[in-house]
């Protein structure tokens, strides 16, 4: 898997805030960039992939590390 270039720390934020964070940041980065969203709100597991589908961005998957659950998203366009 491509290493993320940037980490958005959305821990402690409730949905839709993590989704809003990725929607704000991703278009500022070059196409192909991978962003990792750290989010401990259980709704992020549903809503980040759903946002990617609605916006035509690529959802790479969920990773659970020391910092808790994280979601990798790649800018497609």
């Amino acid at each position: 898997m491509t290493a993320p270039r940037e980490v958005l720390d959305c821990r402690g934020q409730r949905c839709p805030l993590p989704v809003i964070a990725v929607a704000r940041r991703l278009p500022e980065l070059p196409v192909g960039t991978v962003v990792r969203v750290l989010a401990d709100d259980p709704a992020a597991a549903v809503d980040i992939p759903a946002w990617c589908r609605m916006r035509g961005q690529e959802f790479l998957g969920k990773v659970t590390g020391e910092d808790g659950p994280a979601y990798d998203v790649r800018r497609q366009h």
């Binding site: 409730r14 949905c15 839709p16 989704v19 809003i20 929607a23 704000r24 709100d41 259980p42 709704a43 597991a45 549903v46 809503d47 992939p49 759903a50 946002w51 589908r53 609605m54």
Partner: protein
Amino acid sequence: MSASPVYLDAATAAPLHPVARQALLAALDDGWADPGKLYAQARRARQLLDAARAATAETLGVRPDELSFTGSGTTAAHAAVLGGLAGRRRVGPILVHSEIEHSAVLHAAERHTAAGGTALGVPVDRLGRLDVAAWETAVHAPGVALAALIAASHEVGTVQPVEEAAVACAAAGVPLYVDAAQAVGRVPVPAGWSVLTASAHKWGGPAGVGLLVVRKGTRWESPWPADERESGRTPGALNLPAVVAAAASLRAAAADAAAEAARLAPLVDRIRARVAAEVPDVEVVGDPGHRLPHLVTFSCLYVDGEALLHALDRRGFAVSSGSSCTSSTLRPSHVLEAMGVLSHGNVRISLHRETTEADVERFLAELPGIVADLRTEAGVVGL
């Protein structure tokens, strides 16, 4: 001046049917005695209970002795799951269920797994329809005691392939439990099940009455301590006036069901089309074709579900939501999660016999502005 309230949450509780009110008031005078006793007042109560059972069984197309009344739809669901598993514990410990069952069914499944049993969830697709091939494989595994499938999703309205699921269960020799809470009194329930439950306040009866039907020949064992009432299936005294009102209103609702479905389904179609066209960045979820006639769900991107419910309430609209911020556990709806659809900014609309076209039009006229205001406040316009 505030506009008149518009109640759009019939899937939680439908407004009391006028027939239910009438029957309830009459039965309060006549049905207070214990129907199990041997005196005149008890015989009168027994007559009312027998008549309620006969009428309800006839509406459902089952034998009166297959039907027990319970203290709620939730209790009926718990009894269906735990009793169905207990009755076939010699066969094995596995409960197969769809991933979109009502929480009452899932909570009973949790009780079962906490006691050492197994619960196996079968997935649904993006529209909320059961994966029939996965279901077939699951029920054919050795050790399956019971399979549970909701007749139609209470959250997104998608009607489930009950007939196909029943055929698979019959081939595997596994009894099928169908939670028909959103179907009874509204749409026909396909045959082939062994256990069925429903809930009176979903069709316009009073709260506090559930139905538990166990077909003849089904191995079912009460999960409760022994009690002789309701064929040993429901412990404790029934709220007989409420049971009488439930039975009367079910007969009335079932008689009007086809006409009501024909009136409400186009209103739901209108909501689906107009919300998708007039609210930007909205996902209307559930199957557009195979669905309940009275229920529709959608999610608004970047909108907080709780804020949306409060904003709608301030304008007089009572609706429900599957968003995590509106649940006491702060988890998103397991149904939206299983479907893989957006869970925040979620609204469930469910119509009933008092819902008018004007109510729906007022909702559709006000919703786009309410969502736009919330997005402006949150600074998410143009994202």
